[in-house]
């Protein structure tokens, strides 16, 4: 018996496989993680258990999972509009930060006031802030032909330095003993908690609303159709007479608004003020979430839960096994590597042929 591997190009991508390969990527990542733990000198089974099972084995853990999945899901939904139309917005972290700055600024205006209207204002301000910040790379791309990848990324550094300036300087808490943080927001600027004693807050409804809305826009409207066509073939889109420039501006605005909402959700939810560390790189990790979810609104919900678990798992593994928490980022990078690699199966058929020796001769 001589096993032979034959590789053939597929004519079209089977849809079932398209949504199945992310699971292959997750399984390969878990295996790869086990190997890394083994190299680092830990019992891989035990480490993986602390990573993927312990964090969600109680109610508090599940609430934390949803808490971390919320911003990831929101940002990834926004990014899916950009990526579907071939616009590479990779500065969501900056749009999140700027949204949090604008929303946080409004919350600070009302720091000693109460009122039902305050939270909606803060949320709106955050969304607008993110939207404006995302418009910068979009406008430069449409009118000055500038690479949106580099511009959106440079703006991440700019926004973080701006936040740093504000919390150290003009917005720092006058009674805060010079800590780099602002005043606490008033209760009216805080997201309502869903359960007593758990941190999960009403921001999750924003994420779910974004999922529904994006599904509607992408699959039921003319705009969604334009976005998808431009992603598949720019030439076709031009031939069909779609207004390319307007579309670029729109997808960036949607994406920025979602990232801004995620930022405002963090500062009005678990954080309650502005300080330097408002996001553990949610904006970058959401890129992985968007791909893992196949740019599909419901796929993104699932992917945001998986990736949120890598954050939680890293924290748990650090507490119980002293495994450095950066393994979380390594896992996230690995998921994307394996996902991209498994895409090979979408475009090529790998056949294993078992031929008898005499058959081979003919």
């Amino acid at each position: 018996m001589v096993p032979l591997i034959k590789i053939e190009k597929r004519n079209d991508v089977p849809m079932a496989l398209y949504f199945f390969t992310p699971f292959i990527a997750i399984i390969l990542t878990i295996l790869g993680g086990g190997i890394i733990f083994y190299i680092l000198g830990f019992n891989p089974i035990e480490a993986l258990k602390f990573y993927f099972i312990t964090p969600i084995s109680n109610l508090y853990g599940l609430s934390e999972l949803l808490l971390k999945a919320t911003p990831l899901c929101l940002i990834a939904i926004g990014l899916s509009f950009c990526f579907k139309s071939n616009n590479w917005n990779i500065g969501a972290e900056g749009q999140l930060t700027f949204g949090a700055i604008v929303g946080g600024g409004v919350a600070l205006l009302f720091y000693n006031q109460e009122g039902f209207y305050i939270l909606p204002l803060v949320i709106l301000a955050g969304a607008i802030g993110g939207m404006i910040f995302a418009l910068i790379p979009a406008i430069l791309k449409t009118y000055f032909n500038t690479n949106e990848i580099l511009v959106s990324l440079m703006l991440v550094y700019v926004s973080k330095l701006l936040l740093d300036y504000l919390v150290v300087g003009p917005w720092s808490n006058p009674e805060g003993f010079n800590f780099p943080e602002t005043r606490q927001f008033s209760d009216s600027s805080r997201m309502p908690l869903l359960f007593e004693g758990l941190r999960i807050h009403a921001g999750i409804f924003l994420a779910l609303a974004a999922v529904m809305l994006s599904w509607f826009i992408l699959y039921k409207t003319y705009l969604g159709f334009q976005i998808k066509v431009s992603g598949l073939s720019l030439k076709t889109a031009k031939y069909a007479g779609f207004k390319g420039k307007t579309m670029i501006l729109v997808v960036f605005m949607i994406s920025g608004a979602c990232a801004g909402l995620a930022g405002v959700g963090e500062i009005t939810g678990p954080i309650g003020q502005l300080h330097r560390m408002i996001s553990p790189d949610y904006g970058f990790t959401a890129i992985i979430v968007a791909f893992l979810g196949r740019l599909n609104p419901f796929g993104i919900i699932f992917a945001s839960l998986v990736v949120a678990l890598t954050y939680l798992g890293a924290e748990t593994a650090q507490i119980f096994l002293q495994i450095p928490k950066y393994t979380g980022q390594v896992f996230q990078g690995m998921i994307l590597f394996f996902l991209l690699a498994s895409d090979y199966l979408l475009f090529f058929k790998v056949k294993i042929l078992n031929l008898k020796k005499n058959e081979l001769r003919h």
């Binding site: 000055f144 690479n147 511009v151 440079m154 990078g333």
Partner: protein
């Protein structure tokens, strides 16, 4: 008068030193892009080079091993990118991003035990001449060997691309992979080599930071320099000599901004620190406005997947 001639000499010397990582990374990426491959993982490869160089220096106490090791680590990590994009035909942009995220995480994980360890002094060449010759001394002498290599690299790259047969092959693969392939050139192999070369240069750029420029390991110490290097390649319209000029301009802004902070300029530190990033955006806008110029100079197949039916 503090602004005397020798001070200006020292200033120019420090600008040169701060532009070295940009020259190295951008020159490496330039070759990669000239072969038609867009590797956005520069930042990730640099940070891996930085930690592996520093870790090897601490472990072996040998700077030569540290430098060579950092380049090797750049090669190894870029091999992941090469395998995915060239053999498994993945999207260049997404794979490059994954490389950066992975590299930053891996470097922080590897570097956990190296935080706070002081670095070792890196030997400099001609240090006696540096003191004895006013103005030109601090500019030309008393630098590490890596700096001299970095300043020669754009000229070597230019010569390689324009005057050698291999350089022609690289350009042919980047501009027209199909015809290059029909001429019997192994497009995938050439691209693999260019990716690995880019990885080695980015690894060296990272090691320059952690071993020579600020001899210590700090998490995320590349601080976006990899992305600025990518922008420099566009700024230079894929010409090696212009990479050198661009890197010096950015080195100049970085040093100027540090000096302004030091004299207590009445602008918040954060705004000064944001200058290099804002400058990158402004420069990109100015360069890219002329879309014909960009189109003429961009390697025609940049970022496109090449697949040959067997």
């Amino acid at each position: 008068m503090s602004l005397d001639i020798s001070f200006i000499g020292i200033l120019i010397g420090s600008i040169m030193a701060s532009s070295v990582p940009l020259i190295l990374a951008a020159s490496g990426e330039l070759i990669t892009e000239r072969s038609g491959v867009l590797n956005l993982g520069v930042e990730g490869m640099m940070i891996i080079g930085a930690i592996s160089g520093f870790a090897l220096m601490v472990i072996t106490d040998n700077l030569f091993i540290a430098i060579v090791g950092s380049m090797l680590s750049g090669v190894i990590i870029s091999l992941i990118f090469g395998f995915l994009t060239q053999s498994l035909l993945t999207n260049h942009v997404a794979t490059g991003l994954a490389l950066t995220i992975f590299g930053i995480g891996l470097s922080a994980m590897l570097g956990k035990n190296f935080v706070g360890i002081p670095g070792k002094e890196f030997p400099v060449l001609f240090s006696s001449l540096r003191e004895s010759i006013p103005f030109f001394g601090p500019i030309l002498f008393g630098h590490s060997i890596v700096l001299y290599f970095a300043f020669a690299l754009p000229f070597l790259t230019n010569y390689f691309l324009k005057k050698t047969k291999l350089g022609l092959v690289v350009r042919a693969v980047g501009d027209s992979p199909v015809s290059a392939s029909n001429q019997g050139i192994n497009v995938i192999l050439v691209r693999y080599c260019c990716i690995l070369y880019g990885g080695a240069m980015c690894g060296l750029a990272g090691a320059y930071l952690s071993l020579i420029y600020t001899p210590q390991w700090i998490e995320n110490m590349t601080a976006g320099r990899g992305w600025i290097a990518l922008a420099l390649v566009v700024f230079a319209t894929w010409s090696p000599i212009k990479v050198l000029i661009g890197a010096l301009i950015f080195g100049g802004i970085t040093i100027l901004q540090l000096h302004m902070q030091a004299i207590g300029f009445r602008i918040p530190v954060q705004f000064l620190s944001a200058l290099p990033y804002l400058m990158t955006i402004i420069v990109l806008v100015v360069i890219s406005r002329d879309s014909r110029k960009i189109k003429l100079n961009t390697p025609t197949s940049l970022g496109r997947i090449f697949y040959k039916e067997k």
